[in-house]
Symmetry: C2
Subunit: 101 residues, 2 copies
Amino acid sequence: MIRHVVMFRFLEEAQGRSRRENVLATRAMLDALPAKIPQILRSETYIGDEGAAEGNCHLLLISDFADEKALEEYLVHPDHKAVGAFMRPLRESRAACDFTV
Amino acid sequence: MIRHVVMFRFLEEAQGRSRRENVLATRAMLDALPAKIPQILRSETYIGDEGAAEGNCHLLLISDFADEKALEEYLVHPDHKAVGAFMRPLRESRAACDFTV
């Protein structure tokens, strides 16, 4: 199984909304994906702690896929791409790691 | 409990060693920390998949702490700082996220 972990930092403000609003809106979109994309075996999102170290990420996604093929199908899935397009103007940075479990 | 997740990208080559050698050496140092730092309740490291998307991280650390105070004690612990000093010339980037579980 492949575990896909992604961290996002958000801009302080974007599209007329606060960072907090954008983090929560993005999280809701990510949490809706498993119902739309059967390749997602399991998906969890976490909000970064407010008091955490400077420079830390604001949102973390952990999702599981059967294999590399399933992960690739997810990455190009229109519902996943829609979340990417929504997030792009909101985020400051993104870091990802895929590993076999 | 606080979960501390960190992703590292490594330089292709550093200190006369390949990325692969540096990733494995760093992982071994991180894996040795729980025996030295009692604040670490649990710690896991994962090597990023070779075939994964361009720009992905090479090493992921997930460790758990009782609370914010324990995490802070870990961050300033000399054995943790020694790993940081070892890694600094090897890495290209670092991203972290702390969240409450």
